[in-house]
Amino acid sequence: MNSANPSVETLVEGGYTEGFITEIETETLPPGLDEDVVRRISAIKQEPEYLLEKRLKAYRHWLTMEEPTWATVRHPQIDYQAISYFSAPKSRKDSPQSLDEIDPEILETYNKLGIPLEEQKQLAGVAVDAVFDSVSVATTFKKELAEAGVIFCSISEAIQQHPELIKQYLGSVVPHTDNFFAALNTAVFTDGTFVYVPEGVRCPMELSTYFRINAANTGQFERTLIIADKGSYVSYLEGCTAPMRDENQLHAAVVELIALEDAQIKYSTVQNWYPGDAEGRGGIYNFVTKRGLCKGDRSRISWTQVETGSAITWKYPSCILRGDDSIGEFYSVAVTRGHQQADTGTKMLHVGRNTRSTIVSKGISADFGSNAYRGRVRMNRGAENARNHTQCDSLLIGDRCAAHTFPYIEVLNPTAKIEHEATTSKIDADQLFYCRQRGLSEENAVSMIVNGFCKEVFNELPMEFAVEARKLLQISLEGAVG
């Protein structure tokens, strides 16, 4: 079939009258992926023609690609035809009716994190009648942001309301040809976040998906685009320390950041998706493409991530340092325990002169966990006086876990300087005994030692997030020793 044939397109699109859309929005598309599914997603979202073309191009390209196998992760073959690519908000009767139906282990974690009951229900996907508190909070925030001229909305809304920005920037940092999962995401993404900070504006608050009202149903193919115009600043928080209940096993998000001249973007993530049961069954596969473009001179992009969840984490938040004197930073803590696997790191591509990058990666493995740091630093020919400092440290708890480090370094400019440090250590019995002899319980001792190990990364997180991240780490590693 020639899919570019206008008559076919008209025929297919013709089916999506307003009424039909309403009908389908209450449903879920049947499992499977073909061009028709891509068209239907685009139609449901009432997207302009160019975006549908973009999706179709990505889909056709995806068909020619193979799932990457270079990461040190193992999982059963993913059946892409068994996934449903659009699912409207679930109706009440399908949702759990009360917290009694939720996995008690998840509830215990909520309690340890001190999450209020109403919020627990929301996180666990329980049908709630009362309007959730954060809605009103979010409304207040929206007003303040609007006054500053900051656009903070869902990507679907931005596609309708800010077509010029979407057209210019969507896919400009992560093209659909980038990798297998980015191609898939471009073809089928259903929602995500859009942020635009105008020239010279310092965003008056930390932006968080938590406060975006409809964030709960962004689905498994999330798309985020953040643009910081000249001289602006924005700090964005993604995720939540509470374990999120989610029925989609495969998550393939794409995040694009663009920093123009003198702009700064700080992107912080706490990822705590379901890691699977004790045997490693049922956990989330988190295959994410995150990349920032330091487009303007003296721009700066910082990625900070705390990854404690998911069965498999595959992500490399990266920076393209195109502007002269631009700065890229990556601070990461990745915890794997049980049967969790993480292959994570960053790429720093130095293009402009006097560009600088810093990489601090802390991997913690316990039980049967496997943790790999994979990083690539490239100094292009024109990257005069570029600098990179990389530090990757691994901490092992117990003797059945694993840590790997794969640094790739390419230097094409003789004035560039690269430093790489790597360490592997163990929480040893002596450290624990020392702490316990000073009156600390074993769990407090482990948590203190691990927090000390991660300090440089936690220091980069916004204050409240750092407090939560510490708590989360403590809970994540409970019972890991002994």
């Binding site: 019995a429 020392y434 316990r436 002899q437 000073r438 009156g439 407090n444 000390g452 190990f453 300090k455």
Partner: protein
């Protein structure tokens, strides 16, 4: 305060202590001397509850309770402090923070109010003054990059802050130059009082020039083979361990 009866201890399946008997009363300072490998440090670690040290026979009573039933942290909370021969480094953990955690863990277990940051600062300042020490170590990470002398002084400061009933010093004098030795000894002497007992494990007599013990015990092959007063230490220094272990054999 502490009664050790017929204590037998194995490490990794190898018997090290073969029936130790020891009685320590409040206010007393006991020196435990002996050649390398005699079991001095084994006794110290066993009393503190190190899990590698397996008690195969005998009993230990601390203030009338069976000490062996408690975990290391419970023993610390009951007032047992071990100054380590090799204090452990904990990278990334600020010394001050560590000390505050430890002090409050113990205060909490003893039913006392936990100290807030300000009160803790006062507590640490007062203690430093008392011990005649500088506070240059508090901003650094626990034991990281400390010199041998700094590590041992830090242990004495911890003991002072945690206010134990029984302080056990495991070869605190090893590897110290004379100035550091004196500083450590001064600290220990200031912490002596009528309620607090101490066990000082040492290889050499020289520490005892500064800290005068009430009793000196000589341990050899996992047994206490001689108990005396300060003069026993001096005699040992003069004649060597062979004098006494040989005597035992004969």
């Amino acid at each position: 305060m502490l009664t050790v009866k017929n204590l037998h201890v194995s490490v990794a399946g190898k018997p090290i202590l073969h029936g130790i008997n020891l009685d320590v009363k409040a206010g007393e300072v006991h020196a435990l001397m002996g050649p390398n490998g005699s079991g001095k440090s084994t006794l110290a670690n066993t009393l503190a509850g190190h899990e590698d040290y397996l008690v195969t026979d005998g009993e230990v009573l601390f203030e009338g309770e069976n000490l062996l039933a408690y975990s290391p942290e419970e023993r610390a909370q009951k007032g047992i402090f071990l100054a380590f021969q090799y204090p452990v480094e904990i990278p990334g953990v600020n010394n001050m923070y560590f000390l505050k955690m430890a002090v409050n863990a113990i205060r909490k277990a003893q039913g006392k109010e936990e100290l807030d940051a300000l009160d803790f600062m006062k507590h640490i300042k007062a203690t430093l003054t008392k011990l005649d020490m500088e506070d240059s170590l508090q901003k650094r990470d626990v034991n990281v990059g400390f010199s041998g002398g700094e590590k041992k002084r830090s242990e004495i400061l911890q003991m002072a802050l945690l206010e134990p009933k029984l302080g056990i010093l495991d070869e605190t004098d090893s590897g110290l130059d004379i100035d550091a030795l004196r500083a450590v000894a001064t600290g220990v002497n200031k912490l002596r009082n009528a309620e607090r007992a101490m066990i000082i494990v040492t290889h050499y007599q020289r520490l005892l020039d500064y800290i005068e013990p009430d009793f000196v015990h000589v341990i050899s092959n996992g047994k206490i083979i001689r108990t005396g007063n300060k003069t026993l230490a001096l005699e040992l220094e003069e004649k060597g361990y062979g004098w006494i272990t040989g005597e035992e054999a004969a």
